[in-house]
Amino acid sequence: MTRGRLLLLVALALAVTAAAVGRAAAQETLGERLPVRELTLDNGMRFLILERAGAPTVSFVVEVAVGGVHERLGTTGIAHLLEHLLFKGTTSIGTRDAERERALFARMDAVHDTVLHARASGDTAEVRQLLGRIDELEDSARVYVEPNELDRIFTEAGARGLNATTSSESTNYFVELPANRAELWFVLESDRMRDPVFREFYAERRVVLEERRMRVETSPAGLLYEAHLAAAFTVHPYGVPVVGYGSDLETLTRADVASYYRRYYGPNNAVVAVVGNVDADRIEAWARRYFGRLPRGEEPPPVLAREPRQIGERRVAIEWDAEPRLRIGWHVPSSLHPDAPALAILASVLTGGRNSRLHRRLVTDDRTATGVFASTGPGNRYPQLFQIDAVPRSPHGPAEVEEAIYEEIRRLAAEGPTAQELERVRNQVLAGNVRRLGSNLGLAFQLAASETLEGDWRATFRVGEQLQAVTPEEVRRVAAEYLTRSNRTVATLERRAAP
């Protein structure tokens, strides 16, 4: 009974899918056909503008091609700290008297230079006293500060979701506004790009330290992630935490941030996506008027660090007051490499849904884990990791789960996936091609990311086609080629043994 019914379903599905695939091959996807207007200003700043019907709202995403990979040991966390500070205002927003503020900056920064030396000499009393002095100066500067004014202006305009994120290779600033207030964004954002003031610097540095404590130092998953990347990457800055190391954050200076800003925040290093119920002509006119006058910035230095080929398994263990976790990573090429689609399919065959191989093996059959998840990261642009995260189920530990994962990978590397497994993934891709167009903000993110990574907003919509073209043999080959013992780094978290 059951079997007959499913077979019927599958037969229907095949017919429908074949028709759908035929269509996809014959013409561009819905995404590629979007009427996106492309605009590049003389200063190199790129805009992607998309008019859409629907509620009168508009989504703005700015992607700046800067992140953790543009950092050095000693100044880790600077891209992210800068992202925080860019909400502090400019010489006109966020201040009552920028002149007087500036005079106090020089004084507190001079004290801070002395702090660094007191730290080096281990004089903790002196450090405390000097930090107290900086606090006093920052408090006295507060007389001239209009706190969180940028946020307040957006909030009063009815904005939603004003925020930013920093990743290992990009920083995104985003907000949604009622469509009739779109020009407000141009005024505020162009002011911020032209003229930021890094006020309340020392208080904000403490905020970022608290963010690090929350995301890393008190989080078992965060601790494991940081240790794993640091072990897997010995040369490439993908190994450095985007939030920064605590001791680096404590020593970053306002001058470091200002100089970093000049190097990476030129308009030529930014892409803006504007998606919503707006008039593209007006958006273009505002883009030219407000951003056209910004001078072109420096050409950001390229990241030339290259991770050497790994020549032996690496292992790192965390002991912590928490239940065990496991994380395995293999070096694989960047998302722009021809093998990237096969690796994406591999991730889906292994852990995409309840019928995937590792879910079935670990969660359903062996019951040694409650979850398993494969992905690539931490970025896209540079050679990265194919990574598997697993959550063992007590009393089973990481070792048992790890061995089962290798067994499944060996089998896949020997036999390849079945045609049925690939078919399942392909149908998901087809539906995904449509679903990904649902939200304006989501679309704006995709356009900006694709333009930044590949210089072409359409590239992201061709991924579906590339995934469709992957053969079982290609999936087998990438599993056999990359998921080897000597190419992997394994991180485990286990409960701290009694002293």
Partner: protein, 484 residues
């Protein structure tokens, strides 16, 4: 010795940045530019769902032909919060087992394979008072999808192997709850405040015995909740009433009338005495939660609107609210700090605050939060602060209509909760009538900083034991129940 060049370098660069700023400062100041902006009026008629009724079941439809996708929504009144503790795990797990437990005619594996194959997205969940499910599909697969979804919701198999898998996963979840200081703090705080009431329950091994989780008990919970009088349906996307009506007829025919009404939701007996509690953990950051009960309910009433705006000013409004401005922006104590004010429709709610900070700043952060609360009891907020909170809602009104799903789900909620259908409009009108003095009055009446139950998860030695005592007599809570 090296200090000199550092100072020079630092100053030179800062000056450089600001000089660059001066060069463009001749352009009109940004504030002037903003005040000279003129915004067009928004011409927007919010879409209204069409209303239908089949066999006494209400159905909301909002057509949207922009993409070849259809979403269906089902909401059943009745969740774990209405049953006694012995049913907690069954009622909590019911939505999950509807999705994973198979149907009368399909094994769990076949269901997974079919959903995968047709690339159908589903969600199944419970908020304690109701069970909800949605399904999203390409239009061309709507018939198949609806057939499958109907079976999942109305002819569940409750496969025993899947029940056991879910049971094991929940047991593991209970173990891991102690790993994350945030979730530990919230769970223990709810337990402290609500005791043996559904809000205070956390899944324990005693809830998860195989005897409590039989297929028969799942069937019983299913029978009690997934029946016709409890149901409201919705549909959005690339479909008309003529196309969806036969699908709904089949669906509703599979949902039997309710044999008995749902139980009343139990009245909570919330802890009223102030207190300071510590869960000892050797951590670099202390999680802080504080609250006391309030009797203010969601209603079309000036006090309710004043409380909503007041909460936004106190700590619910992000960077524009006082708690985040002081605890984060000024002091650098924390990444996040916010107030909470729950206003159930019946029964008491909670008012309070939460943050996380390094242990050394924990007590100063608590004191700062309490002082900030005290000030709002004594002095009305400024008109400017009030305007920020009100404008956010009024100017952002269009964000309530961004997707058809958002519009239909909201109306389904209003209908299910027997709220006025125009509640959103009433709300926006209500908050525009709030005056600063109303906010002060509602805080003076309902917020009592001295009555807070305060829970801190962290290292009391680093917080300073005498500093902690300054908040009140301190009790140590043992959260380390035996691990399942």
């Amino acid at each position: 010795m090296i200090a000199r060049p550092w100072v020079l370098l630092g100053s030179a660069i800062v000056a450089g940045t600001l000089l660059a700023g001066d060069a463009v400062a001749q352009t009109p100041a940004t504030r002037d530019a903003i005040s000279s902006l003129r915004f067009d009026a928004i011409e927007f008629e919010p879409p209204t769902p069409d209303r239908y009724e089949l066999e006494g079941v209400q159905i909301l439809l909002l057509e949207d032909r922009s993409l070849p996708l259809v979403s269906m929504y089902a909401r059943f009144n009745g969740g774990y919060g209405l049953f006694d503790r012995s049913w907690y795990a069954v009622a909590f797990g019911l939505p999950t087992l509807l999705r994973y437990g198979g149907t009368e005619s399909m094994t769990p594996d076949s269901v997974d394979a079919a959903l995968d194959y047709w690339a159908i997205q589903t969600s199944f969940g419970t908020g304690g008072g109701s069970i909800s499910s949605t399904v999203n599909t390409l239009t061309e697969h709507l018939g198949t999808t609806m057939e499958l979804w109907t079976d999942l919701l109305t002819r569940p198999r409750f496969d025993t192997a899947q029940i056991e898998l879910w049971r094991l996963r929940e047991l593991e979840g209970a173990r891991r709850r102690l790993d994350d200081p945030g979730s530990l703090a919230f769970a223990e705080f709810n337990r402290l405040m609500y005791g043996d009431h559904p809000v205070g329950w956390e899944m324990e091994p005693a809830d998860l015995t195989p005897e409590r989780l039989t297929a028969e008990r799942f069937r019983e919970a299913h029978r009690r909740v997934l029946c016709r009088e409890n149901l409201i349906l919705g549909v959005t996307g690339d479909v008309s009433w003529a196309e969806s009506r036969p699908l709904f007829e089949r669906f509703i025919a599979s949902v039997p009338p309710c044999a008995e009404p749902l139980p009343e939701d139990p009245e909570p007996d919330i802890r009223r005495e102030p207190g300071v509690f510590v869960i000892e953990r050797d951590l670099e950051q202390t999680v802080i939660v504080m609250a006391h009960p309030t009797s203010l309910n969601l209603a079309d009433d000036p006090s309710y609107f004043a409380a909503t705006i007041g909460n936004s000013i106190l700590g619910g409004g992000g960077f524009s609210s006082r708690l985040l401005a002081r605890v984060r922006t000024e002091e650098g104590f924390a990444y996040s700090a916010s107030s909470l004010w729950t206003t159930p429709r019946r029964h008491d709610g909670l008012v309070g605050a939460l943050t996380s900070t390094s242990p050394e700043n924990a007590v100063p952060a608590v004191q700062l939060i309490l002082t900030t609360m005290e000030e709002l009891r004594d002095t009305a907020p400024s008109r400017a602060e009030l305007r920020t909170a009100v404008d956010r809602v009024v100017n952002g009104f269009v964000f309530n209509f961004q997707t058809p799903g958002q519009i239909v789900s909201r109306l389904m909620l209003y209908l299910a909760e027997e709220m006025p259908e125009d509640w959103l409009e009433r709300y926006v009108a209500g908050i525009q009538r709030v005056e600063p003095e109303h906010v002060r009055r509602v805080f003076a009446e309902h917020l009592r900083p001295g009555a807070m139950t305060i829970l801190l998860v962290g290292d009391p030695a680093r917080m300073g034991r005498s500093a902690l005592e300054s908040l009140g007599p301190v009790s140590v809570l043992d959260a380390d129940r035996p691990r399942p």
